[in-house]
Structure formats: C-alpha cells, structure tokens
C-alpha cells in the first residue's frame, strides 16, 4: 500500500499524484515507469514516472482518466492509498549532450516527456519544449517545463492558446527557420508521434518516441506489449519504452492498442454504474446518519 501525499487536477480529467514510494524514488531514472493497481481487483496500469523527490521519498505520476481504471484512480485524493506500486520498470532514457534537443509532448504525453527533458537539460543540451494540446486547458506542465527548458512553445489545435496549430507545424517552423536541431523526443498520441517521425526523417534527426502499448506484468513475462521496430518484435516493457521513431511501426501499435476497445466501453459503463450506486448509497447513509464504509 502506498500513500498519496498530494493529488490535484492539472487539466481536464488529468490529475497529478505524489505517492510515497521511497525505494522507487531513489532508483528511478528518466524514461522509466511504474505499474500500479488501484485496489485489490485492479488492472495493472503502466504509468511513466514524471518526477521524484528522494528526500521526501515520493514519485510523481500524471494520469489521464480515459478508461475505467484511470477514472477510478482519479477519484483518489491525498491521504488515500494505492494498493500496489511496482517499479521502476523499463529502460532509462538514453541521455547525452546532443546539442539542441527538442522535447515534444502531446496532451498528457508532456508528463512523460518532462523527466527526460529535465535530464537532457542536466546533460548540457539546449532544450526546446513544445507542449501541445487540443485547446488551452489541455496544455499541461508549462510552468514546470519553463524551469528545465531554454525555450517553451505551447501549441493548441484550436488556437485558444500559444501557437495555433499542431506540434509538428511548430517543429517544422523551427526547422525551416534554419535552427540546428540534433535530437527530438516525441511523446503523445500515436498519430502525433508518427507525424513527428515523418517530419524529422527528411532532416535525418535522431528521434525517439516512448511507446504506450497494452501491458500486463511489465517485466517481460507476458509479451502482450510487443511492438514492431525495424520489422522485428520487441517487448516494450523490457526492451523500451523508448525506441527510434524512424523504425517504429506505428500502424501495428495503433491496431494493437484497439484490441480491448469493446471491453473498455463495457468497463466504463460498469464503473459509472458502480459509482452512481456509491453516490446513492452515500446520500442514503447521510439521510439516516449511519456511518458508511466502502469495501
């Protein structure tokens, strides 16, 4: 059981958690992830470690409530406990002084890009951060990025904030302006990562993406997270999660991530149903002034 020290929404359905996990805080490196289970029947959810504080013994994760399990996680608050937290899993990001490095985060992907951007800065890179969102409220971690990046460019699809357009358009603009870019890290929705790979390919810029396949154990045991890189199967949990963007088969990644779409819908309906039942039960209990404990 791991205690939640801090929990706050930083975007629509996007919640930041600081969790007690001293051993993981001490060991983790940029790019690694944890697997958590919200409760004793919970799904195993892989989540990138956004940050850590070794003196406080905490790790930070940022969660977008999309499926039933992430929605359930996002109902938790400071003082609550998470049933299981294991990690740090996966390989650490490859960090070196490339020169000028661009970190691109799309939506909650910015949370995953953040620790690597920070590490790139510490390694001496000139770091440019592009933070993409559908609209203003989806642009997250701008202040935090400003602490670690030399230049920060928010972009929104609808133009409600920052640069009006996709992250790739901003990247293209930088490239066309003659900026010398030596390294690109792109993390976000699969179409975004594929588009960044396509953008940097003609310039022959080393580009890395962090993959987010369906995962179970996270230690190489099940093979469910296999992706195809350079036409060969890899296990993202132990061989990744970061790979050469120019070699990743994004089409297969996208296809495999759709494997449980029908079940995810059913799961959310079930979650909403249980949730509503809980609310009714709470309301009822308040009326009768009985103490209620949830199992």
């Amino acid at each position: 059981m791991n205690k939640i020290i801090e929990a706050r929404f930083i975007g629509p359905d996007v919640k930041l958690f600081r969790i007690e996990a001293p051993k993981i805080a001490e060991k983790r490196k940029a790019g690694q992830f944890v697997i958590i289970r919200v409760n004793d029947t919970g799904e195993r959810l892989p989540l990138t470690i956004a940050d850590s504080d070794t003196s406080a013994g905490t790790i930070t994760i940022i969660v977008q409530g999309i499926g039933a399990s992430t929605k359930m996680l996002n109902t938790l608050n400071a003082g609550d406990y998470i049933h299981d937290v294991v990690g740090p899993l996966g390989k650490a990001s490859h960090i070196e002084n490339f020169g000028t490095a661009v970190s691109i985060g799309g939506g909650v992907g910015t949370a995953i890009a953040f620790p690597t951007a920070k590490a790139l800065k510490e390694a001496g890179n000139h770091v440019i951060s592009i933070i993409g969102g559908r609209s203003k409220e989806f642009v997250i971690l701008e202040e935090e990025m400003k602490q670690v990046a030399d230049e920060v460019y928010p972009t929104t699809d609808d133009g409600s904030y920052g640069y009006h357009g996709f992250v790739t358009q901003k990247l293209e603009e930088l490239l066309k302006s003659g900026r010398k870019i030596d390294f690109v890290l792109a993390i976000g929705p699969i179409p975004m990562m594929a588009a960044v790979a396509k953008t940097t390919q003609p310039y022959n810029i080393q580009t890395v993406v962090s993959l987010n396949p369906v995962m179970v154990d996270g230690t190489g045991m099940c093979g469910g997270c296999r992706a195809y890189v350079d036409n060969k199967p890899v296990f993202v949990c132990v061989d990744g999660p970061e790979f050469d963007a120019h070699k990743v088969d994004f089409k297969i990644l996208m296809q495999r991530n759709k494997m449980y779409l029908p079940q995810e819908k059913e799961s959310i309906e079930h979650f909403n149903h249980v949730c509503n039942y809980d609310k009714m039960y709470d309301a009822e209990a308040k009326k009768t002034n009985h103490e209620v404990t949830h199992g």
Binding site: K23, I24, K27, R37, T41, G42, E43, R44, A68, S69, H83, D84, V85, V86, G87, P88, L89, V216, D217, T219, G220, M221, C222, G223, G224, R226, Y228, P233, F235, V238, D249, I252, Q255, R256, K258, M259, Y260, P262, Q263, E264, E266, S267, H270, F271
Partner: protein, 474 residues
C-alpha cells in the same frame, strides 16, 4: 485394518480420482479433481507394500518419505502424514495436484511393475488437504535462529521450496516477488480448475506462519540490484523462472487475437479476466468462437481447457508431432479430450491471416509426417508437400515455451549466463559464479516443471546452509 500380507495388498485395485462431470466442468472454473474421501485414501494407502528400499523416494525430486506418509494414512493418522510430507515438501497440496507422478515416484513404484502403481500423488493431495481443512491451529516448530539472512528472489515454486527449507534451518528468509501476489507460475500460470488459488494462498500462509517474510511488488534488478542485496543479506537464491515467452516467428503474429500462453493465462488466472468487468482486466471475447493453441505441453493444455471455460465453441490443440511426443502430463491430455478439446496432430502453423483492421481470422497449417530420428532420438516432423489447410480462428495462443527473463542478467553484469541467458550453476550445489549467490529452477534449466524447480530450491537451501555455516568453504 489388520496387517495385510503383500499378496493381499497387491489384490487391491488402484482407486481412481473422483472428478467433476466432463461436460459440466468444461464450462466452469471449479477444480476438476475432487479428491479422495478418507475411506478411499485409507484403502489406497494399503496398496503400498512398504518396500525396505523405497525406490519411489529416489524417484521424487524433493525425496519425500513416501512409504512413511502413506503408512500414516493407512492408519488413519492424517495429521502425522501431512507433517511427514512437509518435512521434505513445502507445498504438498500443490505437488499432489501438479507433479507428473507418472514420470517420477509412480513410474518406479514396485506395485506398478505387476499392476498399476500406488496413487502416490492422490494420497499426497489427500493428506495435505486434510490438514488444511481440519487442523486449524498448526504450532510451527520454531527452530533456533542462526542470525543469518537469506534473500530469495522470486516467489514461485523454486523460491518457496528454498524458503521453506531455509526457515526450518533457522535462517531469516525474505522472499522478493515482482508481481502483486506470491506463487509465480502457481498463481499466474496454472488455472484455478487444476490448482485452486486458495490452496496456493494457504501454502504461502503456512510458510508465513513459520516466519518467512514476503515482499511483493519488488523487482530485483530494478527496485534493488543483486549487488545491493548482497550488502544486506548473507546469501541470495535466484529463482525468477523463465518468463520471456517464445513466439513462432511466422507472419501475422502482430494481429489482434494472437497471445502468448503466459499473457492469456495471466489475464485469466492472476487478473481474473473471466470475471470481467467486476475485475477490470479485459480478455478477448471468445464466446462461440474457435481458439487454436500451439504446443503440446502442460501450458498448452491449461490454455486450451481455459478457452473452453471462457465459452469457446471449438478449442483446438495444434501440435507438430504426435500424441506420444507430447510433453504434457497424461492426465491433462486425458482431461482435455474428455472435455471436448480437439487435437490436430502433425500440423505446423505457417501464417496467421487477419482482416484489414488487424484482427486474426485464420491460420494456415502445414501437414507434417514423422521422418528420420533427430539428435534427441525422436522422429523429426517433416512437411508433406502441398498438404496445407486453412482454418477460421478468433484467437491463437502460443504455448511453445519460454526464454530466460533478461532483467537479472542485464542488471548483474558479473553474473555468468549461457548464450540463452540461463544462469550457469554448479548442479550439485546451485552455486553461481558470484560468492553467496545461488540459483535454481527455470532460470537455470529453461522451462521445466514445478517439482524440478522445487527440487532445485531444496538443493540450493542445503548448499546455502552449508555456506552460511562455513563461508570460507565457497
């Protein structure tokens, strides 16, 4: 019962295992075998002729004192029978269910030379179950503490048997497990209908009562390295299992619906996907569909029988040799057939075929025939020219074994492994090249059985005890 003569003992017929009706059980997850009643167990126990030189003990990888515990059952002393078992076997209720007795103790049983061997496995299960169900408070014999600390890496059969022996030798034992539950393959791999999880939990609980400390959600190599463990423990046993599934390396394996047996079984057993959405881990819907399982071992049988229980209309074993060469236990093959599993023998998959959205739809199978014997002495399957068949399937489960998991070897550069990533040990004492570090089970041998891993755990426990008493002896 009065003392029987050997001749009289030979006359008693072997008692078969009461089991759930095949049709009913093929659609539920409850245990197939129901276990002996005490009357049956006592009568079966009388079949043992109590050899002076019991070859069955030599046939057991953990050397259970078989005639001794069976004699106790014959006398109705079930608690004593269980405690004799536990002297040599940390998990008797598990082994009574999943050991391949027909290749071990029962294969060499003297009674079996003339008729059918004594049902040693069923009796082991009986004694262990009886104790669990009837003896509420077991007073653990707490041995004198040695003050030595041992880390056991991996909470599967090898680690549990090693931990069970070490705690009884008075050492302080901590088991580190990567998953959220203790048991390894007993929890994620072997299904409920063959090994109820309650039994694994009870066996782990009894180790816990003896004083074994269990730490879950802790990946040695990542959360803490072997090198770091060495600083705070006097000895380390690595029993992390094989755990990196092999795929067939044929076209179409990326399609949605193609699983490794590990993933399929983990979703169903550990994550309880059969009870979706109460348990939120999902599973492909196979109700009324066809599932093909590739392989002929126990894992393949577990996967194919699980498919039926998830509602598959057809569940097919596809194996490239014949039934004689199948590595699965005879009982598992027999149970699978009774439940309606189809067996396609002498076929090798060539390609998985999907629809335009990437969902598995068909598999192309090559007919094989047995040719000349290969280096293993088994006749090698060779393709029959042009004999290719395509069948419609919704899910494919690959159960052709596991490679070694890379996490320990990648994070422990000093540790010597072979080209397949298996840790190299001295077979007599399970010592690795690192002082104070021992290893055993599938991570050493490659995929094998629960009991062989337990045997390795015991051998290591003995060697660890010797080492702790005299570290200079390394």
């Amino acid at each position: 019962m009065a003392d029987l003569t050997t001749k009289e003992r030979y006359k008693i017929e072997r008692h078969s295992m009461p089991e759930q009706d095949a049709l009913a059980r093929s659609r539920n997850f409850e245990e197939v075998n129901l276990g002996y009643t005490f009357e049956i167990a006592m009568e079966e126990a009388e079949r043992c002729i109590r050899c002076k030189n019991p070859v069955c003990v030599a046939g057991c990888p953990v050397a259970v004192k078989i005639p001794d515990f069976i004699k106790m059952i014959a006398e109705g002393k079930f608690e004593e029978a269980a405690s004799i078992l536990k002297e040599d076997n940390a998990l008797p209720a598990v082994c009574g269910r999943v050991c391949p007795q027909e290749e071990q103790c029962e294969a060499v049983c003297v009674v079996g030379k003339k008729g059918r061997p004594v049902a040693i496995g069923y009796l082991e299960r009986f004694a262990a179950d009886w104790e669990r169900n009837n003896v509420k408070i077991i007073e653990p014999k707490i041995p004198a503490k040695t003050g030595k600390k041992v880390a056991v890496v991996g909470g599967g059969p090898a680690g549990l048997s090693c931990a069970g022996d070490l705690i009884q030798l008075g050492h302080e034992v901590t088991v580190f497990e990567a998953l959220h539950e203790i048991g390894g393959v007993l929890i994620y791999g072997i299904p409920e209908f063959r090994l109820p999880k309650e039994i694994v939990k009870a066996e782990v609980e009894s180790l816990s009562k003896l004083g074994v400390n269990f730490v879950t959600n802790y990946v040695i190599g990542l959360t803490e390295t072997i090198e770091e463990l060495k600083a705070r423990f006097d000895a380390i046993f690595i029993g992390v299992g094989a755990g990196l599934p092999y795929f067939l390396n044929i076209p179409g394996e990326q399609l949605n619906g193609v699983y490794s047996a590990n993933e399929f079984l983990t979703r169903v057993n550990l994550m309880k996907a059969y009870d979706f959405p109460n348990n939120p881990t999902p599973m492909l819907d196979v109700v009324g569909k066809t599932v093909a399982v590739f392989g002929g071992g126990n894992t393949a049988m577990d996967a194919v029988r699980t498919s039926l229980r998830l509602g598959a209309e057809r569940a097919i074993i596809c194996y490239r040799r014949t039934e004689q060469e199948m590595p699965a236990r005879v009982e598992e093959i027999h149970h699978a057939k009774e439940e309606g599993v189809e067996f396609k023998l002498l076929v090798a998959p060539l390609e998985f075929i999907g629809d335009e959205d990437g969902w598995l739809r068909k598999v192309k199978l090559q007919q094989m025939e047995l040719g000349e014997p290969d280096s293993s002495g088994r006749r090698r399957p060779v393709p029959i020219d042009g004999a290719i068949e395509t069948i419609d399937i919704t899910a494919a489960i690959i159960a052709i074994g596991n490679g070694s998991n890379p996490i320990i070897s990648q994070t422990t550069p000093e540790l010597i492994v072979n080209k397949w990533g298996n840790i190299i040990v001295n077979e007599g004492n399970m010592k690795t090249n690192m002082m104070g570090v021992f290893a055993g089970g599938d991570i050493v041998t490659g995929g094998a059985t629960v009991i062989l891993a337990m045997g390795a755990g015991r051998t290591a426990a003995k060697a660890i005890d010797d080492f702790l008493k005299n570290p200079e002896s390394w």
